[in-house]
Symmetry: C2
């Protein structure tokens, strides 16, 4: 399937000069959505994965069907203040200021392998912070998956040492 | 399956005096997660549904696997400012102030039936606003699904006229 034909590109969102790659057109097309989930099963179905972590909130959309299909626990990596239990926190830089992600301590499989999932990989900042969280909790993040990759924004350097897979990459704006 | 045994209850979250019903313990248990998705297929699999709408962000977790499994388009109902395309907006009341939800105009199936999904039904405020959005876009919301219902908070009155189904209800705090 040619995902490029399905992914909507919206200029000047969320700010002028930025081309936004929108996955709502992918999940609105059942064949394209199933293609992504099937690809994930192909990529990771035979690997030893103890938990799937989805990054709030679009990461949930791809992490949930995969976790349910594979019968693997689903962990949420959420923005600060959303998870009710005892959490680990990690900060990451935004263009202006900082933000934090959190995970429930009790959700992290100690000594286990985690597949970390987001819809789109850009600077890798959130995913790098999420990796620190899961590592601090005692797990190994050996695989990161995103439907779309924008390597010109630097995620490959930021996530060095981790096996990162995307289904389609865009090389520049 | 006795979902009550799987749902974690966290006292005093997000504020003192509130008992929080947490679905992260459900999705962390593959049998419980699959039980919920299988129940959704049982409830809605034979109904004419043209799109599944998930409410940000925990609604995505149950809407996505169901939509993918059934081969039905998945629509996102998001907080204001997150969707890049042309949107419809609807406001709802919070305890203090107001908030807005949005949906892409082009995602709403004109004249179609939508199944609206969230993890937990409480006051029904977000779901009522989401229903207005989808109706304004030309669709019919005939079914609303939540894993957990807290009817003492009023969602049944707020969503009158719509068929609302939950897998487990808690009658008071």
């Amino acid at each position: 399937m040619d995902l490029d034909k399905v992914i909507r590109k919206v200029p000047d969102f969320p700010a002028k000069g930025i081309l936004f790659y929108d996955i709502t057109s992918v999940i609105g097309d059942p064949k394209a959505f199933s293609y992504c989930i099937d690809k994930m099963v192909e990529l990771y179905g035979s690997k030893k994965i103890d938990a799937v972590a989805g990054v709030e909130s679009r990461g949930f959309i791809f992490a949930a069907p995969f976790a349910e299909k594979m019968g693997i626990p689903l962990i949420l990596v959420r923005k600060a203040g959303k998870l009710p239990g005892t959490t680990l926190k990690a900060a990451y830089n935004l263009e202006y200021g900082k933000a934090e992600v959190e995970v429930h301590v009790s959700d992290v499989p100690k000594g286990g392998n985690v597949l970390l999932i987001d819809d789109l990989l850009a600077t890798g900042g959130t995913l790098e912070a999420s990796t620190r969280l899961l590592t601090e909790g005692g797990a190994r993040v050996e695989n990161i998956f995103g439907v779309i990759g924008l390597p010109f924004l630097g995620y490959k350097e930021k996530l060095k040492g981790i096996d990162v897979t995307t289904l389609i990459n865009y090389d520049s704006e």
